[in-house]
Symmetry: C2
Subunit: 399 residues, 2 copies
């Protein structure tokens, strides 16, 4: 049995904080800001919410908050309903949405809140995720093999196998930073040149600082209801068309499987296949009007073009060079500025992407609006390569 | 809309490790032991599982494992399906089951695994949860106000208000330790006398060491399917009748609400009301044949008698003194030995309780079998008092 998700659940409210450094706001402030924005956008009252999910990936890399549903319930005063915390590395935000969707379809709840939040800037980057990963005794991180290092290996492999160049990586960063100049909530809102990216300090060869997303605070929230109930609420509904999540053996796959050639993320492919099947997407490049994909490092956006079927394997560099993924191209990718410019408050990112796509489908994305967008996609990959999520959203119910 | 859970989902496989000190087993070993036991008990193959949930509450209080679905997927080799981690303090295990149930009812999956695991003994108790709570800047823990201290306040209040005595607290511990002598998987399997409990070292007046559950390693797992599919599998089905979860403002409630009198946990009452409504339980004392309740401290079992409606407020001590909650009583509570004897590997506890009740409903609980048990209940409360879960299980479908 496959879940028949298409057009059964809709998003009627969205809200998110600016992404950036929020030294003046606590974790609870971020929860309240995003949560109340979504509640108000949906035109509901707090008391109508009968279940909620909170996604935070790294409580101990930040402010020791986000361990339980209480860290959502208390800032919003949302009591006497089930509230649970989920975590799954970089798909954490998408998992909050998945929990909410399953609850609605199970009939457990009728109006649900899914919120992702991460506060990482209160500790220095050296003190936060990397330190925690070393402490947890991860076999790669202990040897200094960080996220940047892990993804750099994929970039090097692409250089050799498909002729991707450092300039191609820089082009991803240039495109996404240019998009972010139109996004008032992005962490970085300045255009950068290819030259600047190439000359920025090397983090893990061939990835420079500007090939890498920053460490960021932020929160994002959505309110969901069953599609049949949409007309009861004033919030403009956007419909879920498909959703896929998958776990692969990411971190270790290169070491487990001697045939693995570091050119693709299996988790993304499995998640996309499920989401496309539910949504009836047979030709992603033609049928999807915009995509927010997980460009934690520039190379990941390129690999993801192929894993999502926007082009064939080995052709990502041509798709990029053609301009097809620019804001005015055939299939705009990361119109928001992506993780490279918005930053990556881990638990918030997947929800922020959904909020971005909803804005475009509603036609309310302002200066960065993708004209006439009817179908959008969000994608996350984390743990490097182990967990992936793909969500498809549509402006209208299919007839 | 209320979810109509009754008789729609069943448990066809259970498995759990012995609870105790597992210095010879890694977190992954515990996951594999409980997971494979449940898979084998259900008579399925691993490849039939199409989604899974892992509950771990305190990765950083133990072994830095249990942050994502990967920590379930890798030990079991369970790839290409969604696997997510949930956490909600002491209801974490129950939340893994709730996620699995919602997925089945949503039609997202057909055969699901819910597994709870915690490995706490590899760090000394002083280095683990308490230290972590202090580091997270919790306003109570920072002042040395630990879980034992928080629950001790409830005990003191019961002494004054309802005439509960230290001997009553000791009676809970004596009863549960006696039960544990028949449970080969309990952490402590020795009977203790009232005198021993009363003379054991004071932790937080009036709670002694033997009024408190130990720090324990363990894992527990269940396999669930929709009830309509039960006959496809060889595993003996036990049916879910009702499930309630609720978040209250636990830790802080006494400070937020000046009328709060420390005699009840609102979260338990709200969760129980929902579970009872779904299950059609109108008279819990008569209709429930056994209950596993969250006796993290002896006083909590007493308060829970009242919150679950086994007796009126103020009457818990009489219910206990009457012997009604002994293994051979009218409504046996913590036949397994409870948290006081089994220990409390936080993420595992809620799932372990469900496994225990399933054994009794199947009639396979060995020496500690509650004869003729047809309806059982599990209960968790955590965060002290903030999050609660109640699950009702039945031997057969209602006609």
């Amino acid at each position: 049995m496959g879940r028949n998700l298409k057009d059964r659940v809709c998003i009627i409210g969205i809200g998110w904080t600016a992404f950036g450094e929020h030294f003046d706001k606590s974790y609870e402030d971020l929860v309240a800001d995003a949560g109340w924005a979504a509640i108000n956008d949906a035109g509901i009252t707090r008391d109508q919410i009968d279940a909620a999910w909170i996604g935070t990936a790294f409580p101990d890399a930040g402010v020791y908050k986000g361990r339980s549903g209480m860290d959502l319930a208390e800032p919003l005063g949302l009591f006497d309903v089930p509230v649970v915390r989920v975590s799954n590395y970089c798909t954490t935000g998408a998992e909050a949405i998945r929990g909410a969707v399953n609850s609605l379809l199970a009939g457990e709840s009728s109006v649900v809140l899914a919120l992702g939040v991460e506060k990482l800037r209160d500790r220095s980057p050296q003190e936060s995720i990397v330190k925690m990963m070393v402490e947890m005794g991860h076999p790669l991180y202990q040897k200094g093999f960080t996220a940047a290092g892990t993804f750099a290996v994929y970039a090097s492999r692409q250089f050799v196998r498909y002729g991707v160049t450092r300039e191609d990586l820089a082009r991803v960063s240039v495109k996404n930073h240019e998009n972010a100049t139109l996004n008032p909530k992005a962490h970085f809102r300045k255009a950068v040149s290819e030259e600047q990216v190439l000359r920025s300090p090397m983090v893990a060869d061939p990835l420079t600082v500007m090939d890498s997303c920053p460490t960021t605070d932020g929160a994002a929230a959505v309110i969901l209801v069953r599609a049949e109930d949409a007309e009861k609420y004033s919030g403009v509904p956007v419909f879920l068309k498909g959703m896929g999540m998958s776990v692969s053996s990411g971190w270790d796959l290169p070491y487990f499987d001697s045939a693995y050639d570091l050119t693709s993320f299996r988790a993304t492919r499995v998640a996309a296949e499920k989401a496309y099947r539910e949504a009836g997407i047979t030709n992603p490049r033609e049928m999807i009007d915009l995509a927010e994909v997980h460009d934690c490092f520039s190379i990941v956006e390129l690999l993801t073009y192929e894993d999502l079927g926007f082009c064939e394997e080995g052709e990502a560099k041509e798709l990029l060079r053609s301009g097809a993924t620019r804001r005015d191209g055939e299939i705009p990718v990361n119109v928001s500025g992506g993780l490279l410019s918005c930053g990556h408050p881990v638990g918030a990112t997947g929800v922020r992407m959904v909020c971005e796509v909803v804005e475009h489908l509603r036609g309310t994305a302002g200066e960065r609006q993708v004209p006439g967008a009817r179908t959008g996609l969000t994608h996350n990959i984390g743990g490097p390569g182990a967990v992936a999520s793909v969500i498809i959203l549509g402006k209208e119910k299919d007839t």
